[in-house]
Symmetry: C2
Subunit: 478 residues, 2 copies
């Protein structure tokens, strides 16, 4: 493990941002569009302006509630070997969502995503070693909107044993999902003990607004004891100050407000400092989630999360690239590396291109490899006696070769990372074998995985039971 994270800011500067956020919460407040949330805030001592819906937070109240945020967040997999707790087991690498479109796996053309796409994606995520968390990547154009959550989770859970996250829109969705989880887990208790479905909500809308519908869902999830992640999504220059410091102040105020609400609903509910900071390109207003500022802001968010003693996570590998080219490579490599080294515990980077609008099969495979490289850096190096290698340095001495030493043989499987997609062929061999670029090699790997032996994650009996339970609601045959 690394001895010390990068610190974007000094301790004093973090304190400055914290205090500035307290000032914003006390003096400006948050517009709370959800009535239940307003009532909860009011009941706990916030000042609610009934005309504007603005809620102001006394500093002592924020200081009191922010101290009860739990320090860890656990993701359960369907299979316990995929359980992951942040920050302890981090960095966790996650897919990103939710794209309406995909690049077709056959012809590469952009079109609406379908159930069949999601099934393939779930299968790939299950097999790719660099990805820990499956946050459902796409919408489903072949499923009615109000059945999206159930169908997405059914398709995903059928092929993927890793922790799964999805959006939820209605109370009925929640009921369906819990029933689905219970079917899969084999009972109410089994699912309550290991709830392997997760929910993400953009209840907090920049600037300084807590919305109505998503907030209902957050409250619903927390009341049911279901893990919920509430995102803050400031867009510097559009919905937040253009300056990074100002964006952090605003995002931090929003993080505090929504997560204090969660604590007020149920104390000690696990939370994540969960953010998607991005900038607007002032030349044309473009949503520039691939900009390096996303990485810089995530370094700041991760440091604020450490200040509050909560795990951090969020998007740090979004790209504005339209295909898996050099831009996709450096935008998906650099910000996540910077954010992880800044202490981001959950790095959402895998699968999407074109500013989160399009899922790309080859990109998912490339991103898994980027995820493995990030984890390799996080792991750091070991300095035990055998790793220090003083004996072999002495034995081989000046001018010798290490390639056939016992020391090399002993470490050859573990000492270095063996990439699958990054090619180390000689030029000649690369030339002779078709001159494929990385995107083409990754697409080959996609087909390779999909052609492999990928049994369903639950038995035909369980599947039959699910089909019977949801005979009206499952629109998919995959």
């Amino acid at each position: 493990m690394l001895a010390q994270n990068v610190e974007l800011l000094s301790d004093d500067q973090i304190q400055t941002i914290h205090e500035a956020s307290l000032g914003v919460l006390q003096e400006v407040g948050i517009r709370v569009l959800n009535e239940t949330a307003r009532e909860i805030f009011c009941r706990h001592g916030c000042q609610v302006n009934t005309q504007t819906g603005n809620v102001c937070f006394p500093q002592e109240l924020v200081e009191k509630w922010r101290k009860i945020f739990p320090s860890t967040f656990r993701f359960y997999g369907r299979d316990p070997r995929y359980d992951i707790t942040i920050p302890d087991d981090g960095p966790a690498i996650a897919t990103t969502g939710i794209a309406p479109d995909v690049l077709d796996i056959e012809n590469g053309e952009r079109r609406r995503a379908t159930s069949e796409d999601l099934s393939r994606i779930a299968n790939l995520v299950n097999m790719l070693p660099g990805i820990d968390l499956f946050f459902v990547s796409t919408l489903l154009s072949d499923v009615p909107e109000d059945r999206y959550s159930l169908n997405s989770l059914y398709i995903s859970a059928k092929k993927c044993l890793k922790p799964i996250r999805c959006g939820v829109n209605t109370v009925q969705n929640f009921k369906d999902i819990i029933a689905l989880g219970e079917c899969i887990a084999g009972g109410t208790e089994a699912f309550q003990e290991r709830p392997f479905f997760y929910f993400g909500h953009t209840a907090s809308i920049s600037p300084l607004t807590i919305n109505n519908e998503s907030t209902s869902m957050v409250i619903e999830a927390v009341r049911r004891g279901l893990p919920s992640m509430a995102a803050v999504v400031p867009n510097s220059g559009l919905t937040a100050p253009l300056t990074s410091a100002g964006t952090l102040v605003l995002a931090n105020a929003e993080f505090l407000a929504i997560n204090i609400l969660i604590q007020m609903v149920k104390e000690a509910t696990p939370v994540i400092y969960y953010s998607l900071p991005a900038t607007s390109d002032m030349r044309n207003g473009a949503f520039s989630c691939g900009g390096i500022e996303s990485g810089i802001l995530q370094m700041g968010c991760a440091q604020l999360a450490r200040f509050y003693g909560v795990p951090s996570g969020g998007y740090a590998g979004a790209t504005n690239a339209k295909l898996s080219d050099a831009q996709a490579g450096f935008e998906k490599g650099m910000s996540p590396m910077a954010a992880m080294l800044g202490g981001l515990n959950m790095v959402m980077l895998a699968g999407l291109i074109d500013a989160l609008m399009v899922f790309s099969y080859p990109q998912l495979v490339i991103d898994s490899e980027i995820g493995e490289m990030i984890k390799r850096v996080y792991k750091g190096i070991s300095l035990d006696n055998d790793e220090l290698a003083l004996d072999v340095i002495k034995t081989i001495g000046p001018g010798g070769l290490y390639i056939d030493s016992q020391h090399t043989l002993r470490h050859m499987r573990t000492a270095t990372y063996f990439p699958d997609i990054a090619s180390r062929q000689s030029w000649q061999k690369w030339w002779d074998t078709g001159k494929y670029d990385t995107q083409a090699r990754a697409l080959k790997r996609v087909w390779n995985i999909l052609a492999g032996d990928n049994p369903d994650a639950f038995s035909p009996d369980v599947d039959a039971k699910i089909r019977a339970t949801f005979s009206d609601s499952l629109y998919v045959s995959v």
Copy 2:
């Protein structure tokens, strides 16, 4: 500026590597193939085994000499506005060398590099904002080997005002180069005051060997008061232990030996902890300079450099990719980001692909942009009152938009980085304007720069004087 670097290792672990290197230098020693160097080491108290040529270093001697390494290294540009001192002005972004081949600028095909290529490259480096140091990128197939240094520096200096580095093979090379420098600077004193040519040597050959010819050149340069950079180039699993800890011990012993030699030749000569660590892929023996281990090892080297109080620099953006695709993007983005955040003061990343064997024009342009992104992260964020933006947060309040605020207008030119090659077009616009990938866009930019107004860096008079002085030795017409 960042408040705190990443630390790959704890202080205790750095001490362990330091002590292990002292042990290697004392017990195993360095094979010194250069007679002058052996004499210098002997004269200063090292034990020389006259049969093997091995030189052993008493610990006290190493501890004494390593304490006089100067703490800064200054690069002079031909134009003082390109002067850069590391670590103070870092991270400095440099090109990498020295490739025998290029991808032809017209047809993209691989062939030997020529003087015309180098002239174009120097021109591009001069114009690209992300690159601070021009380390000559290619060999010259149209120039005799013994005239390589003179011709390379003439071509480079004619088009590039930034600090320039080249290899040197003979004493005659040195004399020629100094005469060239004096011609350009306008006199002996002018060049001595601001020596804008730099020399890199691989005098240290892993494992634990100081070679003959390059070491002569290092001694020659130091005696003449010319800036010299002595590289350590361990290859884990081939010429160094496969384990990262062992590679660091070996590299560190080599760094100490060659740089103590430099101090013994002339005390307080500025040095750099200058390294190119890479691994061998144990599956096929490939030189895997694009592997993430290069970044990890550079984090270690940078930390050791801080321990010794010397600036650090080296290769951290080599790639095994054969074209400017996603692999080139993430290999050139991730290791340099990790190494810079680990404190590497000079990051050599620009221009080469295929494991340093091939120069690519579009890659140089892409790498300049990567360099700018790295510097943006290093710069960190400012927290002055205007950046904190409390007034505007208060004024705009919940639910407003920042896009047309005075605060946004005031910061729009500086708050975020505006990429040139990374596209933020909408999908439709990208589609309608030719669906170019990043490599193609970068190549367009190459042509664009080369078509621009790029006056020679020195006058026709100076050029005529150089041509007259070196009428027998200049083989180039560019």
